[in-house]
């Protein structure tokens, strides 16, 4: 068991303490905990990794893959996942289940302003302030000089309330999203999951490289896989950042037709991402990949957040195709029995409301 070097001090302390005192931490629900136990595993600790990454915007003239950005976004995720793996390794775990890979992508400063603008205009309407009519009324619903008016209105309102000091206006209030604070084109990549250890077998469940496996399967899915004789070997992913140039988005004439170049671009990007995922799975010696999701992210490199459709026609858009799944290896046997039909008497609506 290697002593992790890359981890912050408090991570090392926490892991050491957890191992010493035989306490496990987990984000498993009660039924997940029981299923994981049933499958022959014990949770050993909540593990995480993070990476805050600056992704410089690079938009080419011609449509195509933005190789640098693709690599950057992949690298950022990889860093977070490697750190999580390191933590799990330090705990002596055989794997990590329920891995969640989340991105806090920093919003474009202009988009932040747009949000503030919207907050202000809602508030202003509510308080009954009237907007002065004039030539400056914007056509696109966005008012360049709104801040001066907003400050004036806010001060007047605070005066009306009899406040000696003027507090921060609602549109300048903190948000619950961390991305707000980072600045343009910066994102936090977080990987978090519960490390588990198999009872008995010494390291049998580790992957080819002797590292703990990672998987985004829930406790329920994990139990079912293990019962059926499969074993997860890794969390595999592939991505592709693609720039769709304006000429791809425009049809040559005023008629209904397929945008061939656009179709092709999306198709291409998706295939590239899936191909990369397959390569990763093959490198791990997997039989197959389960639970694959193909997500299309439109990151915030657009010029004008308030008028997306038309802006895209002029400046093109950047999309990321991101594919993830859990690579599995088929082992011997496994029997799951027949499923039982159940008419559930739980009211699904009540449950949703309570959550």
């Amino acid at each position: 068991m290697s002593d992790p070097q890359d981890l912050p001090q408090h991570a090392r302390e926490r892991l050491a303490e957890m191992r010493e005192r035989k306490l496990f931490t987990s984000d498993l629900s009660v039924s997940e905990l029981l299923l994981v136990r049933e499958a022959g595993f014990d949770p050993v600790g909540l593990v995480m990794g993070t990476s805050i990454y600056q992704v410089a915007p690079s938009v080419g003239r011609r449509g195509g893959e933005l190789v640098d950005t693709t690599k950057a976004l992949y690298h950022a995720r990889e860093l977070a996942m490697n750190r999580m793996e390191e933590e799990a390794d330090a705990l002596g775990a055989d794997g990590i289940i329920g891995v969640r890979l989340t991105i806090n992508l920093a919003l474009d400063p202009q988009r932040q302003q747009w949000n503030q603008y919207r907050t202000w205009s809602k508030w202003s309407k509510q308080q009954g302030f009237r907007r002065p009519l004039g030539g400056s009324t914007p056509t696109a619903g966005w008012w360049p000089g709104w801040r001066d008016l907003a400050v004036e209105q806010w001060q007047r309102w605070c005066g009306m309330m009899g406040w000696a000091q003027v507090p921060l206006a609602p549109w300048d209030q903190p948000t619950s999203q961390a991305s707000y604070a980072f600045g343009p084109n910066t994102a936090e990549f977080i990987a978090i999951g519960t490390a588990v250890r198999h009872r008995g077998s010494g390291g049998l469940f580790r992957n080819k490289h002797g590292k703990p496996f990672q998987s985004d399967l829930s406790g329920q899915d994990f139990w079912m896989l293990v019962r059926c004789g499969y074993r997860p070997v890794g969390f595999v992913m592939g991505n592709c950042v693609y720039y769709v140039s304006p000429d791809m988005l425009q049809a040559p004439a005023r008629q209904s037709q397929e945008l061939t170049a656009y179709t092709h671009a999306l198709y291409d990007a998706r295939e590239l991402a899936i191909e990369r995922l397959q390569d990763e799975a093959e490198a791990l010696g997997a039989t197959g990949v389960v639970g694959v999701t193909v997500a299309e992210h439109q990151h915030s490199w657009r010029a004008q957040p308030w008028n997306m459709g038309n802006a895209a026609l002029q400046s093109g858009e950047v999309i990321e195709l991101f594919v993830v799944g859990t690579a599995v290896v088929q082992g011997e046997g496994g029997e799951l029995g027949d499923p039982q039909l159940v008419l559930s008497a739980n009211d699904p609506i009540v449950k949703e409301e309570r959550e």
Binding site: R14, F182, D338
Partner: protein, 269 residues
């Protein structure tokens, strides 16, 4: 006896009632405290200890308040605990946080419990206080059948400041912002570590309630300040989970055979 308020849904209520637990009342603890103004906050990339401490104290006061109420009601424990924080800006740009802990106190009713559970020992902690957990009624019952009992809601937090100058150095580069990564990583770990420390302090290894694990742990974050508002970015990380311990030996609540998973196909939508 007054009518007992509870937030339980019908299914949850009946699930609890089946094993002899009845709601005893809604218990609420709260605390309003000042987190200072932005001038009290530093601009270094480091933990802001005063803020960490005051947030932690506020939560503790709220949840202790809730526990005391449950104790007064003679409850066996509290289920479904929720911990909410609201931030307000009050006059003079003072940041004020309101901390509320809400849960449903439950009692064990021997007369209505199934016969084999009538002699079951109490689930109260060894000092006679009720347990508390953020598990739902259903999860609570499953946990008991599997041979565990909830002990307490465990918490840890950490408020971290970020120097905005660090971010500026990384402009126009495809690169990891290592100092901020370290800061965030460290802050989350610190929150989780504090959760553990708090737990070990309250329930040392020799105590009867020494927890064996934590379920349903989450780490979330909230940001104040940053590029949109004035002042340096400040992030609060909070770790929360329910500590569990094995049931006392011979407790009939432990199912004779552990609950078996079964594959079902639900026919509703």
């Amino acid at each position: 006896m007054t009518a007992a308020l509870s937030e339980l849904g019908v299914t949850e209520f009946l699930t609890l009632a089946r094993v002899g637990f009845l709601p005893r009342g809604l218990v609420i603890g709260s605390c309003v405290f000042s987190a200072g103004t932005q001038y009290d906050w530093s601009v270094a990339t480091a933990e802001i200890r005063t803020l960490s401490k005051s947030m932690e104290d506020a939560r503790r006061i709220a949840i202790d308040d809730m526990r005391a109420q449950a104790h007064q009601l003679g409850a066996e424990g509290v289920v479904d605990v929720r911990l909410e924080i609201e931030h307000h800006l009050w006059r003079g740009a003072r940041q004020v946080a309101k901390c509320v802990a809400v849960g449903t106190a439950v009692v064990f009713d021997r007369d209505h419990a199934p016969p084999h559970l009538r002699e079951a020992p109490s689930l109260r902690l060894s000092n006679g206080h009720p347990f508390d957990s953020d598990l739902s009624g259903g999860d609570f019952v499953t946990l008991l059948a599997a041979g565990y009992r909830p002990v307490t809601v465990a918490m840890g937090n950490c408020v971290y400041g970020i120097d905005p100058r660090v971010l500026r150095q990384y402009r126009d580069r495809d690169d990891e912002i290592a100092p901020v990564t370290q800061a965030f990583f460290d802050a989350r770990e610190l929150a989780m570590e504090r959760l553990q420390h708090d737990l070990f302090r309250r329930f040392p290894e020799k105590s009867a309630d020494h927890p064996s694990g934590i379920v349903g742990m989450t780490v979330d974050e909230q940001v104040y300040g940053g590029s949109g508002a004035s002042g340096p970015p400040i992030v609060e990380f909070r770790a929360l989970g329910t500590a569990i311990a094995p049931l006392l030996s011979g407790d009939p609540r432990r199912a004779p055979t552990p609950p078996r998973p079964r594959l079902v196909v639900p026919l509703d939508r």
